[in-house]
């Protein structure tokens, strides 16, 4: 027990199960098996669901904390006690080294559902010849009993994309 333990618990709000992961961007749902990269479609990073984005605004999918933000800004982790989510922008975009990506949050920061996390330049991703699909992966799916994509067709930011049972 440390003096600042109470801060830790405050920094990591718990998810209420069954939990709901909202769409992080406006666009069209891409089912997991249709994501053009095996690391996602085969579930290596956990159960996931994609959204082909219509714009470049990426929003928090639930209340939580930014657990990690890649230096290259193409991937951001959000957690809420017991629920770990990775939002990965595009495929192989790590090699863009952050060009076309800008962060509106920092690692460790608390966020509310709907807060703007990143803005991305979709044209730059296309120019780099990468797929633009935004993938939301529940990276600790194996610790949970049920993670399912519940949306199809068009989604607006915040509408339920995945449901999660503890």
């Amino acid at each position: 027990m440390g003096l600042f333990d109470f801060l830790k618990s405050e920094n990591c709000p718990g998810a209420v199960f069954p939990a709901s992961v909202g769409a992080a961007v406006k666009g069209t749902v891409v089912p997991m098996e249709k994501i053009p990269d095996e690391v996602f479609s085969a579930g290596v990073l956990g159960t996931c669901c994609g959204i082909e984005p219509e714009d470049g605004n990426i929003y928090a999918p639930f209340d939580g904390k930014i657990s990690q933000l890649a230096d290259t800004l193409h991937a951001v982790g959000v957690e809420a006690g017991g629920l770990e989510l990775l939002i990965h922008i595009g495929i192989d975009t790590v090699d863009m080294n952050g060009d076309g990506f800008s962060a509106r949050v920092k690692a460790g920061q608390r966020v509310k559902k709907g807060d703007l996390l990143l803005t991305i330049d979709l044209e730059k991703i296309r120019a780099a010849r990468h797929a633009t699909v935004v993938i939301l992966a529940v990276t600790n799916s194996e610790d949970l009993t049920g993670v399912a994509c519940t949306a199809s067709g068009s989604v607006m930011p915040g509408e339920e994309l995945l449901s999660v049972e503890k």
Binding site: V44, L45, G46, Q68, N140
Partner: protein, 85 residues
Amino acid sequence: MKKFTYEIKDQLGIHARPAGMLVKEAKKFESSIVIRKEEKESGATKLMALMGLGVKCGDKIEVEISGPDEEQAFEEMQSFFSENL
């Protein structure tokens, strides 16, 4: 307990794809595997924490393995790193 150090040669370091592969590899073993970069560490099966280490090309990491199948894990994790990272 066995450990080895490895210098990352992959230009992009441990980002989502290699982190996912590393987790998959580490889960094959009963032994617990810890990846350490300077003062930070992560279990090799914890995807988000692994990515959070921010391991870049040229970084030296330490891999510590302890458990019943540590001999085999030691060999296979070394091959995994040299083949993938």
